[in-house]
């Protein structure tokens, strides 16, 4: 019967959401109850933050450059090439900085979290940890989630800055426009809601990429093939959810700050 597979799929989805909610709740709660593994938090901050710096700088620089390149062609049709700086800075800070950083770090770290934890599950290392009286959620998941939230915030600022620099380089050296004007436009048209939006998003994205990476890793079944499956699911779901949540936050902030825009 066609009804049965639909029913079982629906049940599976509801069960996954329920498991994820409980998993997230416990992982967050662990930060406020001892023992807190601060050394693991620092180590993960180094892996996630410092390790992702080069890809964030490069992607930020290129994206800012492309934005300036593409917008200049369109804006010149209206004689408005002077607003290139405003266009690049607003786009980077509001949208592309957070989303791009989230997706890039998700590709790098959600996958590594899922595969690392997944491998530990299939080789019984997670069970061994539990048998030794250590909570894997507290030891492995909580430090990764908080390191991701903490570091993605700063990585987004780096991506925004390098995006604006990239746009500036293209504006000056390729579009042959005035650099001071570019920077003035980039700075003067920034408003509080833009900053709030740009800095609130990475907090959510960092949480999404790390909690989903760890969730799929810890739920791994089916040996090495299962590890591969978990890794794919983690990256795909984290990336899609980041983009979807980006839409929700943008809508919310536009509503909240309607008078400022």
């Amino acid at each position: 019967m066609a009804k049965d597979p639909i029913e079982s799929t629906a049940k599976r989805i509801v069960l996954t959401v329920q498991d994820y909610s409980l998993f997230s709740y416990r992982a967050i709660l662990n930060l406020f109850r001892p023992p807190v593994y601060w050394s693991d938090f620092l180590m993960q901050s180094d892996i996630i933050g410092v390790g992702s710096l080069s890809i964030v700088v490069l992607s930020g620089l290129s994206t800012g450059g492309v934005l300036a390149l593409q917008s200049a062609a369109t804006l010149s049709a209206f004689g408005a090439t002077a607003v290139t700086g405003q266009f690049v800075s607003l786009t980077m800070i509001r949208e592309l900085g957070p989303v791009l950083t989230g997706v890039m770090v998700s590709g790098r770290n959600a996958s590594s979290m899922a595969s690392e934890l997944g491998s530990m599950v299939v080789t019984e290392q997670i069970d061994a940890m539990r048998a030794l009286g250590v909570d894997p959620l507290r030891k492995l998941v909580t430090p990764r989630i908080f390191a991701s939230v903490f570091m993605l915030f700063f990585l987004t600022i780096v991506a925004d800055a390098f995006g604006i620099i990239g746009g500036g380089l293209v504006t000056v050296f390729m579009n042959h426009q005035n650099g001071t004007q570019y920077l003035n436009m980039a700075w003067e048209h920034l408003r509080l809601p833009d900053i709030v939006q740009g800095l609130a998003k990475p907090l959510f994205f960092g949480y999404i990429l790390s909690s989903i990476g760890c969730f799929y890793g810890i739920r791994t079944t089916g040996g090495t093939q299962g590890v591969g499956r978990s890794t794919i699911q983690a990256v795909v779901n984290a990336s899609v959810l980041i983009i979807f949540v980006d839409f929700l936050i943008s809508r919310l902030i536009l509503t909240l700050f309607a008078g400022w825009m």
């Binding site: 019984e124 030794l132 009286g133």
Partner: protein
């Protein structure tokens, strides 16, 4: 130490274990026999709360762990050492950090950790592997390191999950000798799962002599009085008794398994 009362567990299908009842008393060694895939490892994971029963109750150190919260179970688990089927060593940590894992989490001083790890490694004859990574050890060495990790805290109960599975006969005998040594030196109660009859019989018919630092056979006809057997078949416990009772059993499955 450990009591199972009418324990049943299934994973989306027919029960893997059904109506299992037995106990492990202080100083006792119980060997769970049965063919591969009969639920022996599942039974061991139920013993320290890594899995929860669907029905029945499990008492560990006098406390009912069947419905205990995971957070509360950690303290009890620290009192029970477990040796996993493939060792389950943390592959990104050295042997020293693996053996001392629990102590490192408890922030014990490094000097004390080093001394205790060396003592545990000496017990399993692997002092030289102190700073090695698990990937550079053989299968037998990994099991011995896993035994050292389980013993370092002088646990009140030991759980061995097929400690000789997949090993050659010589290495298997070395591992069994270690388990007999642990039994006869520390007298820690234990529950060992295996499908290898030879290992089970060796444990029952040998004792460890500290002066010779080796395992010797007991006199003909004698068996270790504290070592007894359980046998699983199709998720049910079909035998619970001594070696003598096992070899005299008329149960067709037991006879087939022994022969």
């Amino acid at each position: 130490m450990l009591t199972f009362r009418n324990v049943t567990l299934g994973f989306a299908g027919p029960p893997v274990l059904e109506d299992i009842s037995f106990s492990v008393a202080p100083g006792e060694t119980r060997i769970v026999l049965g063919p591969v895939g009969v639920g022996k490892s599942v039974l061991l994971k139920l013993a320290n709360g890594l899995l929860r029963p669907d029905e029945g109750s499990i008492h560990l150190f006098g406390e009912d762990i069947s419905h205990m919260r995971e957070e509360d179970l950690f303290a009890l688990r620290r009192r029970a050492g477990m040796v996993f089927q493939e060792g389950a060593l943390f592959d990104s940590l050295t042997v020293r950090d693996n053996v001392a894992y629990q102590m490192i989490q408890e922030r014990v001083a490094d000097s004390e950790i080093d001394a205790r790890v060396l003592e545990a490694l000496r017990f399993v004859g692997l002092e030289e592997t102190f700073s090695y990574f698990p990937s550079s050890l053989s299968g037998g060495m990994r099991r011995r390191v896993a035994i050292a990790r389980a013993l370092i805290h002088h646990p009140d109960l030991l759980l061995y999950d097929s400690p000789t599975g997949g090993l050659d006969p010589v290495t298997s005998t070395n591992i069994i000798e270690l388990i007999v040594k642990q039994r006869d030196v520390f007298h820690t109660p234990s529950l060992m799962v295996t499908h290898r009859l030879q290992d089970a019989f060796t444990m029952c018919t040998h004792r460890f002599v500290t002066q010779d630092n080796g395992m010797v056979p007991l006199p003909e006809g004698e068996t270790d009085p504290k070592t007894s057997f359980l046998m699983l078949s199709e998720g049910r416990l079909i035998f619970d008794g001594s070696l003598g009772a096992l070899v005299r059993s008329e149960d067709p499955f037991v006879r087939e398994f022994l022969e």
